[in-house]
């Protein structure tokens, strides 16, 4: 079933991208394009800066953005670096022009300035150059978005369900389910270096699945199943959070993603297999848990479909605040 009523491009590209998500894109070089945009005295500086940064290659800073731990995130971050450099150059050029005009042309006399209104050549230049810049940026965007949205054949898949105000991670082929609500963050465990297909959906309102370290987010929507692939390449524990405002305890709707080695993952699966010694929580317990959060508000009853399956409480020692 294709749940997307509007032709999800990622859905139609199912299992494409033979090169796999790890195929490294060419480093974007948007710095060169804007440099052409203004007079020549900018050209030298801009090319030097852009070229120097390009030479640095992977050593480029992430400009404030979280360092990615997935191959998809790495693709996205390269695009971000390109956009950031291009944006910074354009910003500095226009900033310089405004500042120059403001400082240089302060009124000094009563002389009437020349009443110029048009300069056709100049106008054509500053129309076409941005068009070129934009088309170049769009080209890189197009390549990267196909890489980020690629859906290679997965080794394993996880169905992630958002609900008010928590998450449920169901390992489809492993019969493991993790749930957690606010102040009891659930933890999704993933094996390192393996493409994992995520099926993302929501039980009630729209939520946002966002892990900053993955440099990726996607809405969890009722009635729509979003598919995407993540391939983490660094082990560690990363925080995740709902980004789409979803009601009272949106702020507390957090989770963690733990990327572990293959062996550790297998061990984790065997201990949390639903037939294993899982500490499952009942509906009543979960409701009490939910009600214990500050605010004296009665949240919606957690979805019965979540709590009726075998569940594993993965919340030991977690404090959101």
């Amino acid at each position: 079933m294709d749940p997307s009523p509007t032709g999800n491009p990622s859905a139609t590209r199912t299992d494409a991208a033979p090169g796999g998500p790890a195929a490294a894109p060419d480093a974007p070089e948007p710095g060169a394009a804007p440099a052409r945009s203004r007079r020549s005295r900018w050209l030298g500086t801009a090319v030097l800066v852009a070229g120097g940064l390009l030479l640095a290659g992977c050593q480029l800073p992430t400009f404030g953005e979280t360092k990615p731990v997935t191959t998809q995130g790495q693709d996205a971050i390269k695009l971000w670096q390109g956009f950031f450099i291009a944006g910074a150059i354009v910003f500095l050029i226009v900033f310089g022009l405004i500042t120059w005009a403001v400082l240089r042309y302060r009124r000094r006399s009563d002389a009437m300035p020349r009443q110029t209104q048009y300069h056709t050549i100049l106008e054509i230049i500053y129309t076409t150059v941005p068009v070129v810049i934009v088309l170049v940026l769009f080209g890189f965007t197009f390549v990267t978005e196909n890489e980020v949205n690629a859906l290679p054949t997965p080794k394993m898949s996880v169905t992630v369900t958002g609900f008010q105000w928590g998450w449920r991670f169901h390992y489809t082929t492993k019969n493991v389910t993790v749930i957690g609500v606010e102040l009891q963050d659930p933890e999704m465990v993933l094996p390192v270096n393996e493409p994992t297909r995520i099926y993302l959906e929501s039980h009630d309102v729209i939520h946002g699945f966002y892990v900053p370290a993955f440099d990726f987010s996607r809405y969890a929507q009722p009635g729509i199943i979003n598919k995407f692939t993540i391939t983490p390449h660094t082990t560690g524990t990363y925080r995740g959070q709902c980004t789409q405002y979803c009601g009272l305890y949106h702020s507390l709707m957090r989770f963690r993603v733990k990327v572990v080695s293959d062996a550790a993952f297998a061990a984790w699966v065997s201990t949390h297999h639903s037939s294993g010694p899982a500490t499952s929580i009942s509906t009543a317990e979960k409701q009490a848990l939910t009600n214990s959060t500050p605010g004296a508000h009665t949240p919606n009853v957690p979805p019965s479909t979540v709590t009726s399956t075998a569940t594993t409480n993965q919340t030991a020692g977690s404090t959101g605040l």
Binding site: M1, P3, T6, G7, A11, G64, E65, T66, G73, A76, L79, W80, F83, F84, G87, F91, V94, I98, A101, V102, Y105, R107, R108, D110, A111, R114, Q115, T116, Q117, L122, E123, P130, F138, F142, E145, V148, N149, D204, V205, I206, Y210, D215, F216, S217, R218, P222, G223, I224, N226, F228, R239, T243, Y245, G247, L248, H250, S251, L252, G295, T305
Partner: protein
Amino acid sequence: MTDVIAPPAGGGGGALIPGAGTDHLAHPHEEHGPSGLMKWITTTDHKVIGLSYMITAVALFYIAGLLALGIRVQLTTPAGTFISFQQYNQLFTMHGSIMLYLFAGPFAFGGLANYVVPLQIGAPDMAFPRLNALSYWLFLGGSTTMLLGFATSGGAADFGWVAYAPLSTSTYTPGTGEDLWIMALVLTGFSAIFTGVNLVATIFYLRAPGMTMFRMPIFTWNMLVTGILILIAFPVLTAALVMLFADRHFGTMIYAVTGCHTVTGAPDAHACGSAVLWQNLFWFFGHPEVYILALPYFGIVTEIFPVFSRKPVFGYKGMVFATMSIAALSTGVWAHHMFTTGTVLLPFFSLMSLLIAVPTGIKFFNWIGTMWRGQLVYKTPMLMSIGFLFAFLMGGVTGVMLASPPIDFFVHTTYFVVAHFHQVLFGSAVFGGFAGLYYWYPKMFGRMLNDTLGKWHFWLLFIGFWVTFMPQYILGLHGMPRRVASYPAHLGWQSLNIASTIGAFMIATSFLFLLANFWVSWRYPVPAGDNPWDAHTLEWFTTSPPPHHNYTHLPTIRSERPTWDYNHPEAPTIRHGGPSGPGHPNGHGPIGSGNGGPPGGGDGSAGARQGVPAS
């Protein structure tokens, strides 16, 4: 009484001495009919309606600003206890709703445009004065309805200003405040549609002789395009809201998905609404709305730069076509707010969004070109406009980044987006809007605003602006989601949030200077004269404030700046290929000898376009 407006007879076109008429300050000369409160209630004069709009909108701006301070105070500590989660959710919902629906739009197209557009094209009034009055009363009713939410037991609406379904359906937000929010937007939506119709009709039908479309001031052009955008966007919002209300109360399943969806099974497509439908409808309204909020302010600063540079606007025609391109593209980019839904055509919306940068860039270069080699005078309106340039530049550059889906994926709904749209919207609506207020205030009241207080206002606002929003970019890149009332303490976000809060308080302080300025100008009036800025466009030809039906005389219109041509016949606009006069070489001087009477002195026979009683 109905006034039949008759232009001058015969060789009319009397000369008016600019600068005269300052003595009208204390003697309002248009007293037809009732005064006091009844005057404000029964008026159909576009100037009075425009003032009502502006006063209401600015009052709502102050309220929404206070709500923003509440938000910022809550975020100074990770586990903020200033207000509860529920109050916090109401606060950001109402802050956004009031600022976007009730301040930024109505202030521009209801207030300034209402006041200025008929003056700029030499019209006696808007095309449909009673409809204009109705617009205002619907807007006032809508604003009251939205604020009433705070008085209900459940509090105001708390589903965000975008009211994403299914959160906005009755299952999740059953309160009265939410219903009031919907009705408020239905009322203000109709108000906006009526104003849009009025603006378009006025500009199409009531221009003065010689005021061809390509001689209209850029502000009027932008308001025409805004009017068309309103007619495109607001009906969609109103329809979407009616459907949302039906979902909430009449049991329809247009957006609602409750009860028809199981986590494991497939949803039953026939019984289910679509959560994405609301987003499609809302953003089809919402993105043009962003430009409905921006284009008028572009227009304002495009009026101000030439005046305070003593030059014509650079690239007039390019400016007009850039405005049209922005408007056209803005209607094809709605789904760039929905990149992370996974249900939209990414390349189409990405390319369309990126392309908007081109006409916006043209505008930037035109503004810079206008200032280039000018004689820049830094009065408050000019400072505000320069503040707008810097703010919008930063917001625009980050907007290009957001137009790229892979980047949007990781900054969407984080504080990066919050910072971006505040720089764009705050940059235009606040810097641009208050630039317009400082600029046209002398025309509206015949008295100046104090420039020293204005500069204090500007500098505090400008510094506060950057201190508030730059940390938010960093917070967003670090992964702080928007609309959260608390955040984990160990992530080091607190210092940046405190910086942002300090900036917010600087902004708030700056607006105390505006209040002081109003008080000073009310208490110690400084007469403005007809044309205190040596401005270019037609509205500065009439008295300050303008008489009933605006003009007793009009100059001959031979370019897009008739008042300048009249006052500075020695400095005509230089078009392609060197100096040549606009139209008639001798067309700048007074046309005919005129009647020479005091302008607007109530002498109905004195000259052009004076109101004549019908019976």
